[in-house]
Amino acid sequence: MLNQWTIVAAAFSYLGLLFAIAYYADKRADAGRSIVANPWIYSLSLAVYATAWTFYGSVGRAATDGVGFLPIYLGPTLMIALWWIVMRKILRIAKQNRITSLADFIASRYAKSALLGGVVTVIAVIGIIPYISLQLKGISGSYLILTQYPAIVMPQQLGALPVFEDTGLWVALILAAFTIAFGTRHLDSAEHHQGMVAAIAFESLVKLLAFLAVGVFVTFGVYGGFGDVFGRAAGDERLRALIAPIGGVAGGYASWVWLTILSMFAIMFLPRQFQVTVIENTNERHLNKAIWLFPLYMLAINVFVLPIAFGGWLHFPQGGVDADTFVLTVPMAEKQELLALLAFIGGLSAATGMVIVETIALSTMVCNDLVMPILLRYKRLGLAERADLTWLLLGIRRGAIVLILLLGYLYFRIAGEAYALVAIGLISFAAVAQFAPVALGGLFWKGGTRNGALAGLTSGFAVWFYTLLVPALARSGWLPIEIIERGPFGVELLKPLALFGLAGLDQITHAMIWSMIANIGAYVGVSLAGRQSAEERHQANLFVDVFKSDERPRFWRGTATAPALHGVLARFLGEAGADESFARYARAKGLVWREVDLVADGELVYHVETQLAGAIGAASARIMIAGTVKEQALTIEDVREVLTEAQQVVMYSQQLEQKSKELEKATSELKAANERLKELDRMKDDFVSTVSHELRTPLTSIRAFSEILRGDPKLDLAERMRFLDIISKESERLTRLINQVLDLAKIESGKLEWNVGDVDLRRAIADSVDATSRLFQDKGVRIEVSVPEQVPPVVTDYDRIIQVLINLLSNAVKFCDGARGLVEVHLAREGAALRVDVRDNGKGIAPKDQSIIFEKFGQAGDTLTDKPQGTGLGLPISRQIVEHFGGRLWVQSQLGKGATFTFTLPVAAGAPEPEREAEATQ
């Protein structure tokens, strides 16, 4: 049943099914109901990592090295543990900058350097070609073996075929056509290929199921389970060594560790891995599931590798069967036609998946980062002015796909037979590992420069070329074998497999050590030795601080028009694509495109550049934009302008601070005012209650005595007279009190009428002393008055000043001891004022009372025990009067040594200066 035609039919039906899946997924994506945008499909698509190498090669490696194949999958697991930090950052950067490929990513990081993008592309293409040849070898080899069924014959034994009968060539051409149909049907500005991703995810399922089916069959069908296979292997002399492989067949621990490191880099920087993980990612959150699901996939596909390898060895004890083919040849030997066909389809899916994604990724790089920048620079071609360039982009990509696959075939013809599958793949791994220092360094280290990246990449690649590719070419006879054996020109120190005498390591470890030293050394060294340009610094910040800062257009200076920018975009995205992009931009700014003229400012230019970058890569987009808008380099003036703006911002913030301080001050003033109002309100209440209290005291007294007089008619006359006297005095006091309250209220409300005029204080003092002479006589207190012969008049109300003086004099009398009491009144000029002292030798006023006595109803001494000696309003009123005329009233006193009340009043304007002072001023 298994013949050439059924095999070809099965293979093409399988490819047809893939195409149908891709077509369906694309349709769904266009309808906005993507089947690809979920974490399971995303995780499965990452399994494009497992290629023909995994499917056929792992078994081959295991048959000679035991578990030595495992670091290729353990390394990625370790790296993926860090993805939540590293890959999330890359995803965010790629989204913000619309990265289209690995070359684009690295070029963008280092100032959008077109040169760097080109170098990355060249390294990637040269480095990956052996890997693609591996897939061609896998497919054509498995096809040739299967067609010989039921005989088991290795392809080498069939002899070399002429080129046009060579399956490898046909496989390459068919795959090229298939990839072109898959990946370059149309141009997507986001570089998403949802159909391709769906097909790849499906392929991942197929290859896993096929491999597990073969594994289960070999382990449990051919043998009696794991124990049986390993038990027999332990009994076999050749296989016993593979049970504890390290140090024996698999090389030392160093080679194990370097393989781990190598594959850690490969999972990040193989162009196809970058494509499915970063470019095709539709949602950052899908990464979460992939972080554990993808390693689980790798574990599952590796469980049966060793049993199949051992089983194969035991099955073909006579040898002659390549271990790389055990997955296919064991079912064939057991006459399991369907399983053999399934194994072939599984291998086909592993190989096609790799080839499709890898060539799409590489063709994007070749187009965007190698060919377009060169074409756009040639002004003679006039490409920058051409109307529609989408056909050109697609053409370049299609050409690149064909070219890459043909190069892969060429390598397969030249060197393919000399190496096992895994050895070929590892050469490619070592090539892409050269991207790790500049890419990872660029993510976390701002200091890396464009020149450093260029130096690192080229020197690392040169060492790779010399230590891995040159020996491969020499072994295949394309270079003299003496280069390997004796070194170039007989220089032993430069032998490609033992550079500088470093021998005893396997080829990959040796190459990795030297290339990494050269790569990292040059990258760091040149970066540190040079200086970064403004653009380099800007891009470094954009990458390293992607989680800290928002997307912000760089400072841009130039002249452009919105229609010109629209034109550029239309050339690469088509008219409709450009319209949609502009409409989206306008919507984001709250405008309606075409109704309002968009301003071609830095933001719009930035928008167009990132859109363009999505189609043709950052480096090409940079060139296009620079050619379209008359962009000017940053001048000193621009920098100054930026600085001025920054300065203004600082100033504004300072002003704002000032304002807020003022506001704070106003608030606290307002608060104080409010407190004062509350205080005044409380004082008013106090005043009213105190006044009522003060009025009641004399009233009570009057009422009591008048009731005695009325109720006791037999009271003798002397007694009556005394009582009437008291009533009269209390009434007087009451009157005085009421007058004073009225006075105070009038003064405070400003309603008191003042009779203002020039007053001679000497006369006022004399009149007051006369008015109070009776009091002095009654208590026997002496009074001494000393006034100058002449004083200038003061402007005041005569009656009110008399009131003040009488108040002070009566207070002085009140607090003097009878017989030895002495009150002195002294008038003097003091500067521009007259000063009146009224001194008594009474008991004095305690310091704590000296301010109380000027408050309303405030009385010195204990008001509860001492009988009140006045109304408590005299001094407050006096002070109000004096202050009304611009003077001051205060007291100086010590307890037991009398008190001196002093007030001043300013002399009237135009009054003559005193002679002393007049002399002093001359």
């Binding site: 353990l74 370790l78 543990a81 939540w84 332990a234 049970i243 979460n288 599931k289 972080i291 574990l299």
Partner: protein
């Protein structure tokens, strides 16, 4: 788990893996012995790998407390 702690747990797991799949741990199991009929080296590698993946799933998928 917040982002900082998650990142720290991820680094810790990567270091744990680097330790498990390296000398001297490998040397402990790199011997020609069988464990229930299966080579110990093979059992150890797959068991450690499986545990590591399980821990990664736990750290990543654990819901915020």
């Amino acid at each position: 788990m917040n982002d900082m702690r998650k990142a720290q747990a991820c680094v810790a797991l990567c270091l744990l893996g680097a330790l498990l799949f390296n000398y001297p741990f490998l040397a402990l199991f790199n011997r020609a012995a069988l464990f229930f009929g299966i080579p110990v080296f093979y059992v150890y590698l797959f068991a450690a790998w499986g545990v590591l993946i399980a821990l990664m799933a736990y750290v990543i998928e654990r819901k915020d407390e």
